[in-house]
Amino acid sequence: MNRPTVVRLTGFSVLALALWFLPALQGPLGFPIFYLLFGYSLLFWFAQASSWNMFTGFSGYFSFGQGAFYGVGVYTTGVLASKQGWPLIAAIPVAGVLAAVLGLSLGFVVFRLRRLQGEIFALVTLAVAFVVAAIARVSSTIDGGSGIALNNVQLPEFLGAYPSMMFRLGLIIATVTIFAAATIQHSRLGWGLFSINDDEAVAESLGVPTFRHKMMAFGLSAFFAGLSGAVHAIQISYITIEDVFSIRIPLFVIVMSVLGGMRHWMGPIVGATIIHTLTDRLNRASDLELFGGNVTVSLDHLNDIIIGLLLILMVLAVKDGLWPRLVRRKWVGAGAFIVGILVARLWAPEMSLIGQFVAGELGAVVILLPSSEVIDRWRNWRSTTGSPDAPSDRPGVGASR
């Protein structure tokens, strides 16, 4: 194990260990139990988005297979832990392995056929989710159309009461997934995937084992998606084909990764944080009274519209995601984040901690967009007038890596 990996492993371990004891502080600190479950949801999306990104973000192969891998994980818990009586803790690794087997089987076929690239690859992976769903629907051993209630699953009580247990399970899986993504990015595998992303034919001619790299990344991506799905089955409580294999999971991981940035392991985390916190708060936002109460705007009605408009803005203005910009303008971002929180506290002192966080992140997003644009133009102008030290703005180069 090389030194950077050891440093990374130490950092992740320390952070995870610190968070492990967060549930024990719920009583002394007096924050709502819900925050632990909110934290679990955030960790779930970290794991899902990171697992998708470690293949698609790095290699450029657009996969909709996330829904199938997640679904295999969910239904493994449903079948083994609910129907067969396995302890949840035993079903989770099996879920990861089954999802990985599905991913590797799919990859073994499609990666050998060069014509299955681009849009065709995306459609094939989308179709796999439909096939898996159909199998689950017709098989009474799996579902048979009746759904599975998970009210009899043996939960790992040694991890604490339900909210603490979910938080800790989510923490374990998210930590392992993110660590894997970060390690891949800085390994020969990651460099190979980035070269496939840039131009697969050239990468192959330069000796990059493209088939092996794609298989490894796709298998790992499926494995972590399955692990995460296995735990999330408990949170769903009642699983049905229509909900588990809906397009929601694959679409959200795409949106989160694109928003945060697909060429760095931190991108999906930034994107998932923004999307999940924003949707959570907008869903329960109180009516906003303007002009002395003469105009009332119901924010929850605008949830999807606000998210949609934000994404349009991001796609148009921040081609490579927020993370590279955040790295380049970290002090501006941090300042805007703090100002956003202060404004929220002044405007609505009773606002929850999550609400204040959302205000802070919105402040950072708003300030990063125009300021970065202005600075980029200024730098471009300088570079065209002969300045030798203008930094590259190409994705995957410099700070974004």
Partner: protein
């Protein structure tokens, strides 16, 4: 894959996602509402022979103005998603109930506020929102959501925190082992047996029952349960009961809930040519299949639909005439013999019309919603407190008056209390109860003949 093609594809995907999200937001009535104020839950049961003492507020007393901090009742509803059209009925019914409750003095002398969040018809979203309502918002009580999936998911959250959860319409009766869940839908613990027998009894009451029958079942957990029985048991459902009664089952097929092409299913029904079609239908499955059969110039002599959206069936044309379904309440005598319930039915119709609902009758869905609210309020009023354990105890140990009549929850039957369903049928362009005879208006009976 080159970066330019990836970039173009990526942007296409993102734009599709964004457009879909905006379309969903614009096309749905995402009203998450807080309703307040007005009461009068009249509690007289509609059944003429009730002897139970009313457990809801005494509306004969002069109403007083509620005061103090509001009692917050939290719930989710499918304000968006595929369940939204029917959930809208529950929204209107709940708003009206809370409005009447507050107008009649509130609850424990305090005003009631109903906080509704949008679960988007998704079970895990419902579970997460109930977690938040209970552990972050600290609501005083909860009302169940609408839809079997969301109800089943939310129930586990309620159980985790010991909250009383009345629920409108959960159909997986065998999974609801939580002692403090209280079903309002009066379909009994074993609708796979009682509902099926009810329908076949209705057919046999005509003296000309079908000889052949076709089953076409939506692969929705509730409809699958009624048709085939509890999974992993041999108790069976409508299909096996039909065979036991001597009907020749000439077709038995299932279709996904997302079916949009009804032509192949219609063709299979036509080829089987049954005397009677048992359609395990939800929502607008019925009108869709009827239209497809019309396109083939084929009609079945008679058909039953499990849980159709009532309005669209009435607009399905002459081919829908004679179609049957189950109900627990219809806005006609004897259900409206009690003036109190006649007034509620009319008030609901007015409120539903104002809300723009396409079908405004106070029928099964609305009445189940009303009953769920009656159960919740009865528990709190009866126990005289918001203590969840006390409310649960009261409900388990007392007869509760509802729009369906007095009910006694039976923990041995997952708190179900017998099947109080009726068979209704489209006659002269409207739904009317036809079986059992004590629910039918004078002169109305089942209309069916295998000859059509």
């Amino acid at each position: 894959m080159t970066r330019s093609s990836q970039s173009q594809f990526l942007r296409g995907i993102i734009l599709l996602v964004v457009l879909a999200m905006i379309a969903a937001a614009c096309g749905s009535s995402t009203s998450d509402t807080t309703a307040a104020a007005s009461p009068g839950t009249t509690t007289a049961p509609n059944t003429p022979d009730t002897t139970a003492a009313p457990s809801t507020p005494d509306t004969t007393a002069a109403p007083s103005t509620p005061s103090g901090d509001p009692i917050i009742i939290g719930s989710t509803l499918a304000l968006t998603g595929f369940l939204a059209p029917t959930a809208a009925i529950h929204k209107v019914a709940g708003d009206l109930f809370v409005e009447q409750l507050n107008a009649n003095g509130g609850l424990l002398g305090r005003p009631v506020e109903w906080v509704v969040l949008d679960d988007e018809s998704v079970p895990d979203q419902a579970a997460a929102l109930y977690e938040r309502l209970i552990t972050e918002d600290g609501v005083d009580a909860i009302m169940g959501p609408y839809g079997t999936g969301t109800i089943t998911a939310a129930m586990q959250v309620a159980e985790r925190y010991g909250y009383v959860m009345p629920q409108h319409t959960g159909s997986l009766t065998y999974t609801y082992g939580y002692d403090c869940q209280f079903p309002a839908w009066p379909a009994g613990r074993n609708p796979n047996i009682t509902n099926s027998n009810l329908v076949f009894d209705a057919l046999e009451s005509t003296g000309t029952p079908p000889a052949t029958i076709a089953f076409v079942i939506n692969q929705f957990p509730g409809t699958m349960y009624v048709a085939y029985g509890q999974p992993d048991t041999d108790e069976g459902g409508a299909v096996s009961i039909a065979k036991d009664r001597g009907y020749d089952v000439v077709l038995d097929i299932q279709y996904p809930s997302t079916t949009s092409d009804w032509g192949p299913i219609a063709a299979q029904v036509r080829d089987a040519n049954p005397d009677f079609l048992f359609l395990g239908a939800l929502g607008v499955d019925g009108p869709n299949l009827i239209a497809a059969m019309d396109a083939l110039d084929y009609q079945v002599p008679g058909m039953f639909l499990q849980w159709p959206a009532p309005g669209p069936m009435l607009g399905a044309g002459p081919s829908a005439d004679g179609a049957m379904s189950v109900t627990a309440f219809e806005p006609h005598p004897p259900f409206t013999d009690d003036p109190a319930y006649a007034a509620i039915a009319q008030a609901f119709t007015d409120a539903a019309a104002a809300a723009g609902l396409p079908y405004t009758a106070f029928e099964t869905q609305a009445s189940a919603s009303w009953a769920a609210w009656q159960i919740l309020i009865a528990g709190i009023e009866g126990a005289g407190s918001l203590d969840q354990a006390a409310d649960c105890d009261y409900l388990l140990n007392n007869t509760i008056d509802t729009v369906f009549g007095p009910i006694d929850f039976d923990p041995d039957q997952n708190n179900y209390y017998g099947d109080l369903s009726y068979v209704k049928q489209i006659q002269n362009g409207d739904w009317v109860v036809v079986w059992p005879a004590n629910g039918a208006p004078d002169g109305v009976s089942v209309q069916y003949s295998p000859g059509g």
